[in-house]
Amino acid sequence: MAWTRPGAVAGTAVALIASTVVGCGGSGSPPQGGVGGPIAAPINLADCTDWEQASVEERLGTIEQLRNFVGGEVAGSGGRGVVLDDEDAYQLFENTCANEYARGFKLYKLYSRAAAFSGEAGQ
């Protein structure tokens, strides 16, 4: 069976997210403007090395961008790509990118795969 995701997210980094996200409208309301600014970064090439070197603010901006990147309309299906909760996304990258072998993992690929299984993981 799928493992159960903790209901309450803990840890320093996530606390930082929470405060930043809340400051920008909370997790139910995607961070706007002040977090990441206009989308201009190479989201299809950003990888775990970039994540590890980024500030929390940069990470939050990237998560916002990923939400749009992955959550677009799925042509012909009438649906949209499923997205992760921002806190889950942050923790996903923290857990994965801490490993040396993951240094080249593309963030959008990690995100989209995790999003596809988010329902399972969250059960």
Binding site: M1, W3, R5, P6, A10, G36, I39, A41, P42, I43, N44, L45, A46, D47, T49, D50, W51, Q53, A54, S55, E58, R59, G61, T62, N68, F69, G71, G72, E73, V74, A75, G76, S77, G78, G79, R80, G81, V82, Q91, L92, N95, T96, N99, Y101, A102, R103, G104, F105, K106, Y108, K109, L110, S112, R113, A114, A115, A116, F117, E120, A121
Partner: protein
């Protein structure tokens, strides 16, 4: 502020559409509608053929072709002695007659004898004169011949010296010498290709003819000057395209030509952007059409059939080919030349060769390496043929085709990619989801290729109706993946209707997640399970038959559903119409039969960790594994998770289904999805099951 560590090479792809699959006439030739034929190299200089040929060589300077000239020697002339002989006989006869004659008759004969003697004397003089003249002529002819021969040999030597010193010919000569001695390697899994002396001689001579027509040292420059039905022939050498490398990335000249992509992002480069700034991202860009008069729809259309902003063909039916003896002779290098066909790539551009809306495109006989993303990138093209080529150490994909139709990829060697060696992304919906007036058909064929030493050999996200056969997948972490990941950017969801047959999947135990030698290192960009032959990660109605899987230490094959592919959001008035996730779920109706598992070609048992693995996702139906054999050549030696049914040909719950249509052939859950979640959805703290994918499994014993 956003993460931008790799920003220098970045770009975001535009929303892409499947081209109209019907052929159109371009200069009297059909473009699209089918896989284009390849024109023979030896017809490249045939002026009666359609199109014009442009020749590229190292140095870009022509050398006039000089065929060997024959030097003719004067034939000896025979000097006739017949007249002398005849007169001698006559004199002799007259003498005899005089001796036996008398009277007036004797006087008459004496007179005749006198005349005959006189004639004989003259004849002797004439003969001597003719003989002297002939001897003189012979002497003069010999001197002339020797002089002409010397001149010809000198001219021939000078030409051959110039030819041999020409850089492209030097590469060719070296390659020919090696090929004659040892053959050349096209696919490492196959015997070397042998070359005859006659073939080599003919190819060298034709290259000498091509050299006479060489006016380019840049492939891009030759492409830029090309039109519909034209050809670009590239002579042996390494092409780094300095002008393309110097072209700015994110060129301010193309500001304002971005568009909104699938994800609602502005900033994706439009087709007009690519046409205007072709080397912004690409070392070589083949822009096949004029941009349409109207801008692309914003946001993109939900229906991705037919390109909405397509202009007329300007470079359709273009053939780009190397003129060497093998793909190793013509190299398009996007990065570090000194790395050879290895690492590090050190790329200067994202893409090696981009083929954009260039219907009827043919690429042959070259190597493309060291791109930051894709070596060869074919997008929105109807009709393409890629053959006799190699891609090496392109950091994302060796070959990426995207929303391209009527494609053939064959006789190739693709390796060293962080994602996959060959990736026919979003191949058109010509499988079970085909829409009239189109008919169900395989739109892309991939055959006789080696895909190896990459995170994945083959990947096909939302790649529909692809026919993959007679290929070798080895030395990857995962030999083959078809999936629905990143579905938002890929039209064609859900993936379906591949035919995967007569392939070999073996020794996919390469672990890119540990330290590797510098010169063969790849940096994986995806998480996949080391030691796996093939997986279907969300896909329907795929057929795997008559393949052989052996020596994959984790698993031969995996099949699992991707449960939350998309969500039905608020109706935007554009694309939410009809959204019903229950109707488009994955994975259903995948059939595996006639496969040999855990046995090497000679019949020696060489097992996979587990032959067949299935997640048993609740509600999935129609998946079946039947008439396959295991390491001992029988059903009993198959290994699977869930286990084989106690009775062959049945599908009881909790076992691997063998009866495709049984009402009990339904996924019932189980705990196999825990592995997927721990490896793919690793968020939250304290995940109880660490991901095992990045550790090489122990080799299973026969």
């Amino acid at each position: 502020m956003l993460i931008s560590g790799s920003a220098a090479l970045a770009h975001i792809e535009r929303a892409s559409y499947w081209p109209d699959p019907a052929a159109e006439s371009v200069g009297g030739q059909p473009a699209g509608g089918d896989v284009p034929d390849a024109r023979s190299l030896f017809s490249a200089l045939d002026e009666s053929a359609p199109g014009q040929t442009r020749v590229v060589c190292v140095g870009g300077q022509p050398l006039a072709y000089r065929p060997d000239q024959e030097v003719h020697k004067r034939e000896d002339q025979q000097v006739s002695h017949e007249e002398v002989d005849r007169l001698k006989k006559k004199v002799k006869k007259l003498r005899h007659a005089v001796k036996h004659a008398s009277g007036e008759e004797k006087d008459r004969l004496r007179h005749k004898l006198h005349i005959a003697k006189k004639r004989l004397g003259q004849a002797k003089q004439d003969y001597q004169a003719a003989l002297a003249a002939e001897m003189a002529a012979r002497q003069a002819a010999q001197q002339a011949y020797e002089q002409a021969l010397a001149e010809e040999l000198a001219a021939r030597a000078a030409y051959n010296e110039a030819l041999a010193a020409q850089p492209s010919m030097q590469v060719l000569d070296s390659s020919i010498a090696d090929a004659l001695a040892h053959g050349y390697e096209l696919q490492p899994s196959k015997p070397r290709v042998q070359v005859s002396y006659q073939e080599a001689r003919r190819l060298r001579d034709f290259n000498a003819r091509l050299l006479a027509e060489c006016h380019y040292d840049s492939i891009q420059a030759a492409v830029n000057d090309s039109h519909n039905n034209d050809r670009v022939v590239v002579m042996p050498g390494t092409y780094t395209e300095p002008d393309s490398r110097a072209a700015p990335t994110d060129d301010p000249a193309c500001d304002g030509l971005e568009e909104m992509n699938d994800r609602g992002q502005t900033g994706a480069n439009s087709y007009r952007y690519v046409a205007t700034c072709p080397n912004d991202q690409n070392l070589i860009a083949i822009v096949g059409r004029e941009p349409g008069p109207d801008p692309p729809p914003q946001p993109p259309l939900d229906d991705r059939h037919k390109i909405p902003d397509e202009g007329p063909c300007i470079r359709c039916n273009l053939q780009l080919e190397g003129s060497g003896i093998s793909p190793d002779d013509v190299i398009v290098d996007v990065g570090n030349v000194d790395s050879g066909n290895g690492a590090p790539a050190d790329p200067a551009k994202d893409v090696g060769i981009r083929v954009d809306r260039a219907d009827g495109f043919v690429l042959r006989n070259m190597t493309v390496r060291h791109a930051a993303e894709h070596g060869i990138y074919v997008v929105e093209v109807d009709g393409y043929r890629l053959e006799q080529f190699k891609t090496a150490y392109n950091e994302e994909y060796g070959v990426l085709t995207f929303t391209a139709d009527h494609g053939l990829i064959q006789d190739c060697d693709a390796f060293g990619s962080g994602d996959s060696a060959i990736y026919p992304g979003s191949a058109p919906d010509t499988g079970e989801q085909v829409e009239a007036p189109d008919v169900q058909r395989y739109n892309t064929e991939i055959r006789r290729c080696d895909m190896h030493h990459s995170a994945a050999g083959y990947s096909g996200t939302d790649a529909n109706a692809v026919w993959i056969h007679h290929n070798d997948f080895y030395d990857n972490a995962l030999g083959f993946t078809t999936d629905v990941f990143t579905a938002a950017g890929h039209p064609g969801f859900p993936q379906d209707s591949d035919l995967i047959e007569d392939n070999d999947f073996y020794s996919n135990n390469f672990n890119p997640y540990v330290d590797q030698p510098d010169d063969t290192e790849i940096v994986p960009t995806i998480p996949v399970p080391v030691g796996t032959g093939l997986w279907i990660a969300g896909g329907n109605n795929n057929t795997l038959r008559d393949n052989r899987f052996w020596d994959n230490w984790r698993r031969g094959t995996m099949l699992f559903a991707v449960p939350d592919e998309f969500v039905c959001g608020p109706d935007t008035g554009n694309s939410q119409h009809g959204c019903d996730p229950t109707e488009v779920n994955t994975s259903y109706d995948n059939e595996y039969y006639g496969n040999v598992m855990g046995q090497a070609p000679g019949g020696t048992p060489d097992p996979n960790g587990t032959d067949f693995w299935w997640d048993q996702f609740p509600g999935n139906t129609g998946n079946c594994w039947h008439d396959n054999v295991g390491k001992n050549g029988d059903r009993a030696s198959l290994t699977s998770d869930p286990p084989l049914s106690p009775i062959a040909g049945t599908s009881p719950p909790g076992f691997l289904p063998e009866d495709c249509d049984s009402p009990t052939n339904t996924g019932g859950g189980g705990d196999n999805d825990a592995e997927l979640v721990s490896c793919l959805a690793n968020f939250g703290e304290g995940a109880p099951t660490p991901c095992s994918w990045f550790t090489t499994p122990p080799e299973p014993q026969p």
